[in-house]
Amino acid sequence: MARFLTFLLAALVLSGPAFAGIDESINTFTAPIAKVIGDIVFFKITIGGAGLPVVVLWLVVGAVFFTFYMGFVNLRGFKHAIALVRGDYSDPNSAGEVSHFQALATAVSGTVGIGNIGGVAVAVTVGGAGATFWLIVAGFLGMSTKFVECTLGVKYRNENPDGSVSGGPMYYLNKGFEERGMSGFGKFMGTFYAIGIFIGALGIGNMFQSNQAYVQLNTVAGGALDGYGWLVGLILAVVVFAVIVGGIKSIARVTEKIVPFMAIFYCFFAIVVILMNFTSIPMAISNIFTGAFTGEGVAGGALGALIIGFQRAVFSNEAGIGSASIAHAAVRTNEPVTEGYVSLLEPFIDTIVICTITALVIGTSQVADPSFAGDATGVAMTSAAFERQLSWFPLPLAVAALLFAFSTMISWSYYGLKGWTYLFGEDQSMQTVYKIIFCVFVALGCVVQLDPILSISDALVFLICVPNILGLYFLAPIVKSEMNKYQAKLASGEIKKFKH
């Protein structure tokens, strides 16, 4: 292991500064490919002056369908989800297995990331205050999609001979279609998904995160890190390497423990800022509602605001992409549907709570001072909104962004790994090959501005929601009958509370 590490270090130190030159040529080479793929995946239909990407429509229609088909499980299952996470229904004899809380916490730390801080700012800049309303609606509908995909993730997971588990869309697509006598199609869809999640894990789950972390650090350092992207990338890559290849659990454990506190810390001070802007609260809220239905000043009006809101919500909570079901599959339960209930809290925490709070921080700041952020957008805009009231906040915010990025990378490294093992088997040395590739991309993310590669990965992540949701439609009746059976067992007292 030490030899691997030295090799990686040496390779990156030697080639690090040289990357700066080759990114140009990689860009020219991949840009046309990225454009073609992007054009296909994000193909837009124009309605009333607003461009609606078909893939977003596909996700939204799915979420609406599952909400109705599952009888508003996102509302009706909410209380039960909380009881499950609290462990009210956990059998004391299964203590020591992965609990519902642990599975949820792991999945949430994979989705709470830069998007919750910066993505919302982008949505508000482009889609106006009204986008916030649609963001919340999308988060609410996304809860149903999560419910379906995470139930399936547990139901169709593989239990490996060594006792570990592998689950996720590639498994439920493959096995689910096979059950319906379409094994060839299922194999194709599973493989397609596995390739997509692998490439996506290198892009938005990796390069994008390390890149944004570097940019944010550099901003706080006042540009002192200009040209040192390779060094930041190298450090990040070594730390990620230590965790995923070296198996140094302490680093992962520390981050996994700090991230939830960072999220609470972030929300706490966000609420402080909102309260400090209290005179602007009524106006900010009214802007959200009027903007949602009139779309004043937004390209495409209300529909434009709706599209932006929905798009950002999907980016943030990943409902319909299927990635979270890979993490949820690790839970131990006799009832797959319990994990579905738990997972519906994920879009709630990610989108309805954290994103909305960010939107209100920006919204109230905008009401108080429309030009508070200057030209800044993304994370910088959110940072400026905090800075207006709490001048010391940008530094801890940068640290939070760095940690969010790190934990997202760790989660996505696992998602990508599961895609990889689905394709190449559970062989340990092949897994190490994947992990080394992953670390190289962490470093690359900070060094080169590979926008085309990012757009390819971005497009692929959205592309895999096509087979995923198609599979969800096919398998939804199974989830529904599981849900009904489970509800009947709850009602008859066959499944009872262990804690009162």
């Binding site: 462990g87 956990s90 004391p92 203590a95 020591g96 297995e97 992965v98 609990s99 519902h100 809380f101 642990q102 599975a103 916490a105 792991t106 730390s109 994979g110 060594d162 006792g163 570990s164 588990v165 592998s166 965790v243 995923i244 659990k249 992962a252 454990r253 996994e256 423990k257 991230v259 939830p260 890979i326 993490a327 599959a329 690790a330 839970v331 131990r332 760790i410 989660s411 696992y414 998602y415 790994l417």
Partner: protein, 144 residues
């Protein structure tokens, strides 16, 4: 009904002393001894996805280690002394789980060894024996 003594073990010196105490008591009183090892675990910790995926395995090997390293030898010693013994390995918060086991097996008392931690350490991490004395449903014997 036979008198049941719940003996909490963790492989430490204190737990050895607790074993000899329980042994002498059980012999004179004709009681049965339930040997319980609680592996410290919380359902509310934060893990990486990989840790979660391997958790089932880990749990099995933790139980196996506790059984073969501590519980089975203790039971053998008890059996040699002609005392009826039963072994249990659980995951959870030690004091809470021991209390639950005591109720479950109908123990008349719990016997536990003292670790003898320094004041500061005990203040930060708490002491299992101390917590147990405060919360147990039955009398607790703390063996020094």
């Amino acid at each position: 009904m036979k008198n049941v003594v719940l003996l909490a073990v963790d492989g430490s010196e204190g737990s050895e002393r607790a074993l000899s105490h329980a042994m002498s008591r059980a012999k004179s009183g004709g009681a049965k001894v339930v040997v319980a090892y609680v592996i410290e675990w919380s359902p509310y910790s934060f893990n990486t996805p990989e840790e979660n995926a391997e958790r089932h395995n880990r749990r099995e090997s933790e139980i196996e280690r506790a059984n073969s390293g501590v519980v089975v030898p203790a039971m053998a010693k008890l059996a040699d002394a002609g005392i009826e013994a039963e072994g249990l390995v659980r995951h959870g918060k030690p004091a809470e789980t021991l209390s639950a086991i005591a109720k479950e097996v109908g123990a008349a008392q719990i016997v536990i060894g003292r670790r003898g931690q320094s004041g500061v350490k005990a203040l930060i991490f708490g002491s299992v024996a101390g917590n147990l004395v405060q919360t147990a449903p039955v009398p607790v014997v703390v063996v020094p």
